[in-house]
């Protein structure tokens, strides 16, 4: 089955085509551009380029997989609204996967691993994996707070651009790769659903933070 995978939860704007069969996932043409400020400009052209290189039309796709974050909202929404609209227009199912899985399940080494991406505001989005399987829920915290929890979680290594950025504070060795969610790994996380023709899912972003809002205060007097 032909799958399009997109992820915009990090500065890496990712679009790739993959072939999914009972035997496994084969990654086809991919377009990955690292730019934290241009998700909206980059994603659709990247999808178009990947499809063209794979010599398939959008209508040839069987399903769409999207990383639902966590990630900085504005960029994250670009990927999710794009995947949703494509799925709707093409009449194919959409499947959401946690973007951190694209790091945590891709970092190959036994034992417990912290996957972390940059959440801005001096925080990281993080999740812990054991042999590639998640053992905590995705969360957002300051690196020092995450570092405090690592010993009791039995984590000895980390990966992801958030971990690289705060490696010193985290106090565990950080792998150079993967820095960003790996496309083939994201598809693998949805493999069972794809092959079993599971119903399409709404792509709900993992925001993890409430929107910043200021409730209006009391009226300020204008008379002195």
């Amino acid at each position: 089955m032909r799958i399009l995978v997109v992820d915009t939860a990090t500065p890496a704007v990712t679009a790739a085509v993959a072939e999914v069969a009972e035997s496994g996932v084969t990654l086809g043409p991919a377009r990955i551009t690292v730019n934290p400020r241009a998700h909206g400009e980059l994603l659709s052209p990247a999808i178009q380029a990947a499809l063209t290189e794979a010599r398939i039309a959008p209508a040839d796709l069987d399903a769409i997989v999207a990383g639902v974050g966590p990630g900085p909202y504005t960029g994250l929404r670009v990927g999710l609204v794009t995947a949703t609209a494509l799925g709707q227009a093409l009449g194919v199912p959409t499947y959401g996967v946690c973007s951190l899985d694209g790091i945590g399940a891709a970092a190959s080494a036994p034992g417990r691993l912290l996957a972390a991406t940059d959440a801005r505001r001096r925080e990281i989005y993080w999740r812990v994996y054991d042999d590639g399987a998640p053992v905590t829920e995705p969360a957002v915290d300051q690196p020092a707070e995450v570092a405090r929890q690592l010993p009791q979680l039995g984590v000895a290594r980390a990966a992801g651009d958030g971990a690289l950025r705060y490696a010193e504070q985290l106090g565990v060795p950080v792998a150079d790769e993967p820095r960003f969610p790996d496309a083939a790994t994201l598809v693998r996380a949805a493999c069972d659903r794809i092959l079993s023709h599971a119903p399409s899912e709404p792509l709900t972003p993992l925001y993890l933070r409430r929107p910043d809002v200021a409730t209006p205060g009391a009226r300020k007097p204008v008379l002195r």
């Binding site: 400009e41 994603l43 659709s44 178009q48």
Partner: protein, 352 residues
């Protein structure tokens, strides 16, 4: 066989997810999902709340619009989307969605200017706009006087607000009077029972000295403060605030300045058609005052019905249809959402 362009329009510049479908000048669907209730307790639109709502509403609202129009996405000839101006994060949801629909259906994409779309929407009701025309666009986000020589290729800004937008003044005065957000409809309602001449509130930028520099500009910040002072003085004196009279007098001051300057611009530029648009153009007093004064000045007034004055997707689709007819080239999938898109840019092309 119908050779008029069938266009899907997407609008997400503020708090309304608007999806419209038009065929040429015919309105087929105007679906709206509004997040206004989520903003009301904050007394204004919260950008992140609006963006989140747009993402949730996009696909269902597109579905609803297509169903209402009775067309399939593959029958659509072009996709138009508001590329700016507006709230950056909100615009981005619409632009990204429009690109995906255009990519999936292999249709041309038009990234268009929100203000030009407010002008174009009138073709759905009154047919093609005679050019040149003058447009008065007033809402919570914009207050502009535009000279429309050629809606497909360029509009000329004559003036704009130098502080608050007119709609913002309605919101702030409503809050002052204990009326809900958004302030336009409740003030309009209260004002019906009030005396518009009860209080003589100031008309911003209308003194001879101001006119020399700001003939076609607006200012509503001083008016808002004047209303606040007046209300506060009453409260301090322990007297009840005559809400209806304050609402009517405030509304009269806003409408007076808007219509006066719009008609002055018409006469200065020898234009005999005035179009009004934007959320404030749904105000009943602005409509009746514009009607009376235009008739007196020999100017034809074009006022789309209130539902088409407020932000919607049909206006974006209407502008898209106009651009297709005018042979304007489509946008590329690379276009940005531009929160500060200048009004002189009607649509985005490659290389822009």
């Amino acid at each position: 066989m119908n050779d008029q362009a069938l266009v899907l329009g997407i609008e997400t510049s503020c708090d309304e997810t608007g999806i419209g479908v038009v065929r040429g000048s015919e309105l087929l669907a105007d679906a709206i999902a509004s997040s206004v209730d989520a903003h009301s307790r904050y007394g204004g639109v919260v950008p992140e709340v609006a963006s989140r709502a747009h993402l949730e509403a996009m696909a269902p609202t597109v579905r609803r619009a297509l169903d209402t129009a009775g067309v399939a996405l593959k029958e659509i000839d072009a996709i138009a989307v508001t590329a700016g101006p507006g709230l950056a994060g909100a615009l981005l949801v619409g632009v990204a969605a429009a690109k995906a629909y255009a990519l999936a259906a292999d249709k041309p994409l038009y990234g268009v200017n929100h203000l030009a779309a407010h002008v174009a929407v009138d073709r759905l009701e009154h047919g093609p706009l005679p050019e040149p025309a003058l447009a008065l666009l007033v809402s919570g986000g914009h207050s502009s006087l535009l000279l429309i020589d050629d809606l497909a290729r360029g509009v000329r800004p004559l003036g704009a607000t130098i502080d608050d937008a007119a709609g913002e003044a309605f919101d702030k005065v409503a809050r002052l009077l204990g009326l809900p957000f958004p302030g336009g409809p409740p003030i309009d309602r209260e004002a019906r029972a009030g005396d518009p001449g009860a209080i003589n509130f100031p008309r911003g930028l209308t003194s001879p000295r101001d006119l020399a520099r700001h003939r076609f500009d607006f200012s509503f910040s001083g008016l808002k403060t004047a209303v606040a002072r007046w209300v506060e003085a009453r409260e301090r004196a322990g007297e009840p605030v005559p809400v209806a009279d304050v609402a009517a007098s405030f509304q009269e001051a806003v409408c007076d300045v808007l219509v006066r300057k719009a008609l002055d611009a018409c006469s200065e530029h020898g234009v005999d058609t005035l179009l009004i648009g934007g959320g404030v153009a749904a105000n009943s007093r602005l409509r009746s005052m514009a009607e009376q004064r235009c008739a007196k000045a020999g100017v034809r007034l074009r006022a789309p019905r209130p539902k088409l004055c407020t932000d919607n997707g049909a206006m974006v689709a209407a502008l898209g249809a106009h651009l297709v007819e005018a042979g304007v080239s489509a946008s590329t999938l690379e276009i940005p959402a531009d929160s500060a898109l200048p009004v002189t840019t009607v649509s985005l092309h490659a290389g822009l």
